[in-house]
């Protein structure tokens, strides 16, 4: 790709960000996308649950208990992905004063916290029959717990400051600093000898999971990803409405719906 075409791509990307970065435009876009994302989420969850609970065979060592993986692993992945997304949104809002980015970061926090809590709870419910204990202060488990506290801290900080701009700026610093925990979670199983097993799926090597178990796992992971996108749209739309309540377009919208 030539230098000029690369420049054209960047310019086009910036134009797109400006076009859809306006709260009104994003409100409309999210409204259009939400039913599509919701339908896709339902389809993926239904097929993923059918394949995971019924179609996939029992594991030769773990029996049926391994099926917890189909909710545990997607939630653990999403907990980290949502945090990275939240930190990126927060940084964009902090550096370029993009209001929409602040709103997206705020909307991501409760979703990320719920993914983290689900990963922790389902992980301990898997740990009891497999390891004989619900909890150990293992590097992976502890760093995931720290991630949960980071989400809670971010939400508490947001809630403690009345002015949305100041709240976004203060909590953005926490989100950006906290992102250092994400690689710690990911590499904890390689850096320390932990009870938690290393990753069975990586981008660079062959999967260590049999295909009949891999398919439901991928489908459930996509399901949780689209679930995140659906709820992000819903949360962002109501936050945009409230923050833009003094603008003409929201007044007109309220009048048209009254």
């Amino acid at each position: 790709m030539g230098k000029f075409s690369r420049l054209a791509c960047v310019t086009r990307l910036i134009k797109l960000i400006h076009k859809y970065g306006a709260p009104k435009r994003f409100y409309e876009l999210a409204g259009t996308l939400t039913p599509w994302f919701a339908s896709l989420t339902t389809l993926l969850f239904v097929s993923g649950l059918y394949l995971g609970l019924y179609w996939a065979p029992p594991d030769y060592q773990q029996g049926n208990a391994y099926r917890i993986m189909f909710v545990h692993v997607p939630n653990a992945w999403m907990s980290m992905m949502a945090y990275v997304a939240m930190a990126l949104f927060a940084a964009t809002g902090y550096i370029w004063n993009v209001r929409l980015a602040d709103i997206l970061a705020k909307a991501t926090a409760p979703l990320g916290a719920s993914f983290t809590l689900t990963a922790l709870v389902t992980g301990s419910l898997w740990g009891k029959p497999m390891w004989g204990t619900y909890w150990v202060w293992d590097a992976r488990l502890t760093s995931e717990l720290v991630l949960f506290f980071l989400y809670v801290g971010y939400m508490a900080l947001q809630a403690s400051i009345d002015d949305p701009r100041r709240a976004a700026h203060a909590s953005a610093i926490l989100a950006i600093v906290g992102v250092v925990n994400v690689p710690i979670i990911h590499y904890s199983v390689y850096w320390w000898h932990t009870l938690h097993q290393p990753a069975s799926l990586t981008l660079t090597s062959q999967p260590k999971i049999y295909i009949t178990m891999l398919i439901p796992l991928i489908i459930m992971s996509l399901g949780f990803m689209f679930f995140y996108l659906t709820m992000l749209c819903v949360r962002t739309r109501s936050e945009i409405l409230w923050r833009e309540r003094r603008t003409d377009w929201v007044r007109k919208l309220v009048e048209s719906r009254s």
């Binding site: 609970l53 917890i68 909710v71 719920s114 709870v121 709820m231 409405l241 309220v254």
Partner: protein
């Protein structure tokens, strides 16, 4: 889904159902909470609009 296959799921340990139950509960709460919040936002916006209209009437009088 065949009946024997379905019945086999009934033999899953309590840990599996607890994990799926908790994940389901979190998904449910994640759906319900923003919908309630959205409803509250609309109610407050409508109330604000009514208050503004009342103020305009008072000023006109």
């Amino acid at each position: 889904m065949s009946l024997p296959g379905f019945l086999q799921m009934g033999r899953f340990s309590v840990f599996i159902w607890a994990a799926y139950g908790f994940a389901g509960l979190m998904v449910f709460l994640n759906i319900v909470q923003p919908l309630i919040q959205n409803r509250r936002v609309w109610e407050r916006l409508r109330r604000n609009r009514d208050d503004d209209e009342e103020e305009m009437h008072e000023e006109a009088e």
